[in-house]
Subunit: 170 residues, 2 copies
C-alpha cells in the first residue's frame, strides 16, 4: 500500500534531513519513493505563491493533491513541510487518503541556534514577515509520530521513524 | 534516463487512451511510470482553475513542474493534455528538461463524431466557451512524434509510439 509520510515541524527542525535519509533507506528496500520538499516546490510549481496565510494554504493544498496522485500511482511520498497549524494539517489529511503525520520536534531556541539559512535572524530583524515561530504561529500537532530531533542524532531518529512505519515497508 | 512523454492533441483525439496503454506497456518492462491526465489534475490540484487562456497556461505550468520533479525522482512521466498552442508547448519544454512531444493527430470532424463526453455538442450549442477546436485555437505542433489516431487502431499506435522512444526503454 502506498502512502504519504508527512513531516511537520518548525523551520530548521530537521524535516528535510529526515526526509532525505528516509527516502534513501526506503529506496534501498526497493520502494519507489518521491520526496517533496519546501524549497524545490517553491522554486518551481509554487513559485507564484508567497507566505501569507492564504498562500501557505494554497501551497499545501497543491502539494497534498500531488502526494495523493503519486500514492495512487504506487509511489511512497515523503513530504517535508512546516505545515504549522492543525487546520492546515486537517486540510492535508482530507486530501491524502493514506497519510502518517510525523512531528519533527525541536524547540524554538534550538531551531533558532541552527538557523541554517539565516532566516530566523532576518525574521528577528523584521527583514522578512510571517516567519513561523517568530511572527507566524506554530501549533504542536495533536496526534502524530513524534521524533525528537533536538536531543537525538539523525541515525537514532531514522531508526525510530522506520519502527513507526507499516511493517510491509521494513 | 527519466523523461516526459507529452501527448498533445484535440479533445477526443485519444490522448488519454494512448497514455494509459503506454503506461501499462512501460510498467510491464519494469519502469516506474506516472500518468498525468487532464481530468484527474483538474479535479484535484488544479480545481481552482478554469479554461481561460490565463488559466490554461497556469494549469500547464504547474503540470510541467510536477513532471520535471517526477523525472528528477526517477519516474517516467506520461502527460496527456490538449496543450493547444506552440507558445504553450514552448513553455512546457522550457520547464521539463527531457521531454518528447507526441502529437495524437485526429481531424476535428472525427474528434467531434467521437465526442466521448458530449463536450463538442455543448460547445456548438454555446453551453460552454473556450473549447479547443470550436472557439479556442488548436495549432498543429511543429516537430513531434506524429501518431495517427484517426486512421490507425490503438495497438498499431502504441507500437509506433514505442518504436519512437529511446532504445533503453524498450
Amino acid at each position: 500500500m502506498s502512502y504519504t509520510i508527512w513531516i511537520t515541524g518548525l523551520p530548521c527542525a530537521g524535516k528535510t534531513t529526515l526526509g532525505k535519509r528516509l527516502k534513501y533507506e526506503l529506496i534501498k528496500k526497493g520502494h519507489s519513493v518521491v520526496h517533496l520538499d519546501g524549497d524545490d516546490i517553491r522554486k518551481g510549481l509554487n513559485s507564484d505563491l508567497g507566505f501569507s496565510s492564504e498562500d501557505r494554504k494554497e501551497n499545501l493544498r497543491r502539494i497534498s493533491h500531488i502526494a495523493e496522485l503519486l500514492n495512487k500511482n504506487g509511489n511512497l511520498v515523503i513530504a517535508s513541510f512546516v505545515s504549522p497549524t492543525n487546520e492546515l494539517r486537517n486540510m492535508i489529511s482530507g486530501i491524502i487518503q493514506n497519510i502518517k503525520l510525523v512531528y519533527a520536534r525541536c524547540s524554538l531556541d534550538e531551531c533558532e541556534k541552527r538557523d541554517v539559512k539565516g532566516m530566523y535572524k532576518k525574521a528577528r530583524n523584521k527583514e522578512i514577515e510571517d516567519f513561523t515561530g517568530i511572527d507566524a504561529p506554530f501549533e504542536e500537532p495533536d496526534t502524530s509520530i513524534l521524533i525528537d530531533t533536538e536531543k537525538k542524532d539523525v541515525d537514532y531518529c531514522i531508526n525510530e521513524l522506520i519502527l513507526n512505519l507499516d511493517k510491509e515497508l521494513i
